[in-house]
């Protein structure tokens, strides 16, 4: 800390009446306060990280009646865009899956209960209905779910499954487009942080139109019924 004010004052000795508040006192006090302020401001600027993930909270598009397991789009609406990176690290566009029904689900690989339960129900429904359908699993945890992680995860389910990831900003944009809310939760688990996220499965028809939201707990029977309807004769 450079106390130039004090030094210059001391070089010019001036008789000071003891006990009185003199200009030199004020100047040195002001200098001290200014230096302290600069130091503290520097500390504050170094503190928080440059960017933290903001929670993405979107109002649900429809408010279904209590206990409902699904909502339907009647008439069907064009599905929102979905252009992210697939499990092989390649750019992926949902429109490339036109020609057959598609399930889209937003989740994360560190999820042990909700996501595997949903994917198991979807897998069972596809098998039950006999309709070949594609499944797109989009991560809302891109920090952990990179392409390699998505590949290991969807390979387990099969060739008809695509895993999508991207940058935090790309995922946030996709989630907003699809009405998916998500946020990181605090955790004291050995598994790391959990995420809170919307748990709907979206069902699209062969023309890329949104037909149903199927809620968590819809079950394979209901999902199979809707898939059969959407696939048509």
């Amino acid at each position: 800390m450079v106390m130039t004010g004090l030094r210059s004052t001391q070089r010019r000795p001036r008789p000071v009446r003891a006990g009185r508040l003199h200009l030199t006192h004020l100047v040195s006090l002001a200098a001290a306060v200014l230096c302290a302020g600069v130091l503290l401001a520097g500390c504050a600027a170094a503190g928080p990280p440059a960017w933290t993930m903001d929670p993405v909270m979107v109002e649900p598009v429809t408010m279904p009646p209590l206990g409902a397991r699904e909502t339907a789009y009647d008439p069907p609406v064009p599905a929102p865009p979905l252009r992210l990176t697939d499990q092989d690290g390649n750019p992926f566009d949902l429109e490339s899956l036109r020609g057959g029904p598609v399930f889209v689900y937003f989740g994360y690989t560190h999820c042990p209960d909700v996501c595997p339960t949903t994917l198991a129900d979807v897998r069972a429904a596809i098998k039950q209905s006999g309709v070949p359908a594609k499944v797109v699993f989009v991560t809302i945890d891109p920090a952990r779910d990179n392409a390699a992680a998505m590949q290991q995860y969807v390979d387990y389910y099969g060739a008809d499954y695509t895993g999508l990831t991207g940058s935090a900003v790309q995922i946030a944009r996709a989630a907003t487009d699809w009405g998916v809310s998500y946020r990181q939760l605090p955790s004291d688990s050995a598994n790391g942080y959990p995420m809170a996220h919307s748990t709907e499965t979206y069902l699209l028809d062969a023309d890329g139109k949104l037909r149903h939201h199927l809620f968590f707990g819809a079950g394979p029977d209901l999902i199979a019924d809707r898939l059969t309807e959407v696939a048509g004769p």
Partner: protein
């Protein structure tokens, strides 16, 4: 006092004693003793790739005793760590999870660990969990201590 009345007095006294003894025995039999008894049914684990962040196991705990107990966690050769978690509504149409340090099992109650609710999280799976096989899970109860169960692995 003639012998007949004294005999009847003795008889009445004996009867009274017998009644008192019977009541004492009944009261003794009814006095509560701690009964710790848990039934664990239907343990199963979902099929999972080894690389999944964590697997899940589910079961039903029935407390048939008169003492509350609590599930604190567990262990398994199939995973590095076993924790109890609860899936719950987190508002705005979202669902999330929270670790449960102590899952209370009140006396006379049944607590279900099932998809969308309480579950055992199997963290860092040692290997893929394949349908048809079984895994051992040792549940850690606060009062009853460790209880070993065999969970069936299935897709759903």
């Amino acid at each position: 006092m003639d012998t007949a009345s004294s005999a009847s007095r003795i008889a009445r006294r004996r009867a009274a004693l017998a009644i008192v003894a019977a009541i004492a025995l009944m009261v003794g039999a009814c006095s509560p003793t701690s009964v710790r008894s848990l039934n664990i049914t239907g343990p199963w684990a979902r099929t999972s790739p080894a690389v999944a962040g964590a697997g899940a196991a589910y079961l039903t705990i029935q407390n048939t005793g008169n003492v509350a107990d609590a599930l604190l966690g567990g262990s398994s050769p199939a995973a590095r760590v076993v924790e109890v978690h609860e899936t719950k509504d987190m508002g705005s149409g979202t669902m999330g999870m929270q670790r449960v340090e102590r899952l209370e099992i009140p006396a006379g109650s049944t607590v279900e660990l099932k998809p969308g609710s309480y579950h055992l999280m199997l963290i860092d799976l040692a290997r893929e969990l394949k349908a048809g096989e079984t895994i051992e899970i040792t549940l850690d109860f606060e009062k009853l201590g460790p209880v070993k169960v065999t969970a069936e692995v299935r897709a759903g």
